[in-house]
Symmetry: C2
Subunit: 239 residues, 2 copies
């Protein structure tokens, strides 16, 4: 079939608006944080001046795919490529956007602590601890999308290497443990954590680095940065 | 904010095509099957006469939401409402549909063995065993969507009550075990299966029914039909 010679009929229906939103997580000051952007105040914009997740319309001329669109939004807001970007789900209905029937494809991204991130607190972007962000009245259905993302991340932390994507490399095992604890919201036993991480064999040693309090410690990085490792079992309570 | 008084600016971008596709599973003749529909042969239709997953454009005038659209497609093709319908993911890019930039929201549905289903094999719809369906060259990226759905279903079977949604109620424990075995693709130990199902406490007894070979057996139904029960652990190998 040569599509260049064929004229395809297309839909007579009005097309929905199509957007991509990205829930961008990091850890700052031992808190799981999410990037919010303030919507423009101008007339004719829905939810003016309200905080929202970064996102916007798919641009059919620029975006080769939904994932490429999510990567573009992420790069525009943070200046970085995410080491981890996963599709979260989609939300679409007649009422979520006052401009008309709209569907959004939501992604979530994990990026290392934003020393290297352009978006520090400004008037239009802000890293907000997740529990605070969840209490704000965000634009559209972004509260629902955010809470779904937090739930997904927390559930995956139980059995994957995901939190390692929140750290700049190399990291030490105590630094990795703290990130797990921050995302899980509870302390973990040090020796069980160390055994579990090393047994899972998803880290590789990169030599001694300066760890906490200036002490030398083994530095690690992820063996494979293109996927999360799934552990054979979840953390037991008290482990 | 009264949206009726405000004129919202909308996008100047060309809007992508938006579709919903539904992977509808059932079990027939001890095989996991999926419903395929044959695309029209007429000129101007992409992938003419090719088999595809049921689906089509979101109709902004009829569909209140993506889920409502999925329910409508399912009802149109099978005449039934699905006891279980879950969002699978979305696929969108510039090339998957020759009519233009398109994104589809894919769902998967589980329905009981289709005694009561309108769609038996016709020239335009057919229940196809999943392994055979996977070998056909389906329209669009439907092979990818189908394989993702099979993988999701199989992974969830390990730790949820999902296969029970593939049975008409009431069902016996041997019937339920067979559906688990069909989806998992391997036999399960009878006494371990019985203990596990009853321990999970997601079934309720409805009294004696006529089971296999005309023998009386306890009939069961799902305690809650609106959600899958998640078991505390997966099936062990050999269990």
């Amino acid at each position: 079939m040569s599509s260049s010679r064929v004229v395809f009929k297309t839909t007579a229906f009005e097309r929905p608006l199509v957007t991509v939103d990205v829930v961008i997580f990091t850890v700052m000051a031992e808190q799981l944080c999410v990037l919010l952007v303030r919507r423009p105040e101008s007339d004719g914009e829905p939810y003016p001046a309200r905080w929202a997740l970064p996102g916007g319309f798919v641009d059919v001329d620029r975006d080769a795919s939904l994932l490429a669109c999510a990567e573009r939004k992420l790069r525009d807001k943070t200046g970085v490529a995410a080491p981890y970007l996963e599709q979260l789900g989609s939300w679409g209905d007649a009422k979520r956007d006052p401009r008309g029937w709209s569907s959004t494809h939501a992604y979530f991204a994990l990026i290392p602590q934003p020393e290297a991130v352009d978006a520090s607190a400004t008037t239009t972007t802000e890293w907000v601890p997740c529990d605070q962000a969840a209490r704000r009245r965000l634009a559209f259905d972004h509260n629902t999308i955010l809470s779904t993302a937090i739930e997904r991340l927390r559930s995956k932390v139980e059995y994957t290497s995901l939190p390692a994507f929140l750290l700049p490399e190399p990291f030490t095992l105590p630094q990795l443990q703290r990130v797990y604890e921050v995302v899980l919201g509870r302390p973990l036993d040090k020796s069980a954590f160390r055994k579990r991480m090393l047994d899972a064999a998803y880290l590789e040693e990169v030599g001694m680095v300066t760890g906490d309090h200036g002490r030398a410690a083994m530095g690690y990085r992820l063996r494979e940065r293109d996927q999360a490792t799934v552990f054979p079992r979840t953390f037991k309570s008290g482990e």
